[in-house]
């Protein structure tokens, strides 16, 4: 049986990818951040997942506004890296797992989550930056990746409650897959940040800490946070944190927090990171 062994929450700020791609990780601005992910890379090297389910959002790269899917599952053999306007990131192409993705779609739709199926899709920094942070800079990514793109750009984003229930449905689907696979699910984006308007640059470490605490101790509390509270307390783009609740929902009721890291800033973002092992 396939199993979700752990969940990873992490920011996916594009400037982090650019810092790696341009060899700036040792600069004083970036060094503390990358140091904070060293234990995570070691953890991932030991965890050796066969598959990563990457919950992320596209940033007007794969999707413009002709079609705005709320939940889109990548079912392709591979996913090319998007040119977001300054050239594609020099990272390996992302290999999918079409058989498992097709199973997830079937299972999720029958479980009342109406997924959009993407048989061709480019992936942007929302997906590649978390891979870089946890796997470093290999010649090829060491596992297959199933992208799950969530609309958090055009409001309203799906509610935290809906996201949490989707995570639970993903878990049920995975556990019906007969192959013996180790799966790590990522929830990405956030944490507190706002990158638009006169209020840009807003951060809220207290909100972020409470969110991280809730992930490991009381996810049901986080599920009840109304969407407007993310915007008011933690910035317009902090709504991305609902994607972390898909990750948390896909884990069991009992988890062990094995690592946490928090840092300000990466560009305009408060960077948060957590690793939760399923118990």
């Amino acid at each position: 049986m396939a199993r979700i062994i752990a969940g990873v929450g992490t920011s996916h700020t594009p400037a982090i990818g650019a810092a790696v791609d341009n060899g700036k990780t040792d600069q004083p601005y970036w060094q503390p951040l990358f140091k904070g992910y060293e234990p995570s890379k070691r953890w991932m090297a030991e965890a050796k997942p066969d598959v990563v389910i990457m919950v992320y959002n596209d940033h007007v790269n794969a999707f413009d506004f002709k079609i705005v899917p709320t939940f889109a599952l990548g079912c392709a053999e591979e996913f090319p890296i998007a040119d977001e306007g300054w050239g594609a990131r020099p990272v390996p192409i992302v290999k999918g797992y079409p058989e498992l993705a097709a199973h997830l779609v079937q299972s999720l739709v029958l479980d009342e989550f109406d997924m959009t199926i993407c048989n061709e899709m480019q992936v942007d920094h929302g997906l590649t930056v978390p891979l870089t942070l946890l796997f470093g800079t290999p010649q090829a990514w060491p596992c297959r990746v199933i992208p799950l793109a969530v609309n958090v750009i055009q409001y309203p984003a799906p509610t935290g409650h809906r996201c949490y229930m989707l995570g639970q449905a993903i878990r049920r689907a995975v556990e019906r897959w007969p192959e013996d696979l180790k799966i790590v699910i990522f929830g990405t984006g956030g944490m507190s940040h706002q990158i638009q308007g006169p209020r840009a640059g807003l951060t809220n470490p207290a909100f972020d800490k409470a969110f991280l605490d809730g992930l490991s101790q009381d996810p049901e509390r986080l599920v009840r946070i109304p969407p407007i509270e993310y915007l008011r307390e933690a910035g317009a783009e902090a709504i991305e944190l609902v994607m972390w609740l898909i990750m948390r929902g896909a884990l069991g009721p009992r988890v062990e927090e094995v690592y946490r890291f928090y840092h300000i800033p990466a560009s305009s973002t408060a960077v948060g990171h957590i690793i939760l092992e399923n118990r």
Binding site: A15, E84, Q154, P156, A200, N204, R224, S268
Partner: protein
Amino acid sequence: MTVPQQQEAYEDIPGTWIFDAQRARIGYHLNEFLYSLMKAENRKAFLANEREYLMRFKLTEEQREAVLRRDWNRLLELGGVSYALAKLAFTDGKSYQYMASQMTGMTEKEYVEMMLKGGRAPDGWRSKSERPQARTDRPEAR
């Protein structure tokens, strides 16, 4: 259980234009123009003659003027979404951080320094009711 979020709650957040379904509707062609700047040949054509390039898209004249002026906050108000606007900043050879600093009325250096000190605290920025100058943060929609 959460309740559907209403426009009024979005509108109450100072210094912010929430990209909801109504704003997305107003900004559709503006964002399609910005999306076109993902391609190098389009960036070149735009820079060669901005107004002419803009005429290829069904923008309102107000939106065109705001693009030409790089009036970032006005573009947000007229339905531009920040990730798409970033493609205009990149076309100009500027960073996202530069664009964000322009939106706040700071220099890029001041903005970076604010972030290095931990960013902007939410106090005073949660609601227009605690921010009397909100009117200047957010010009009224016409």
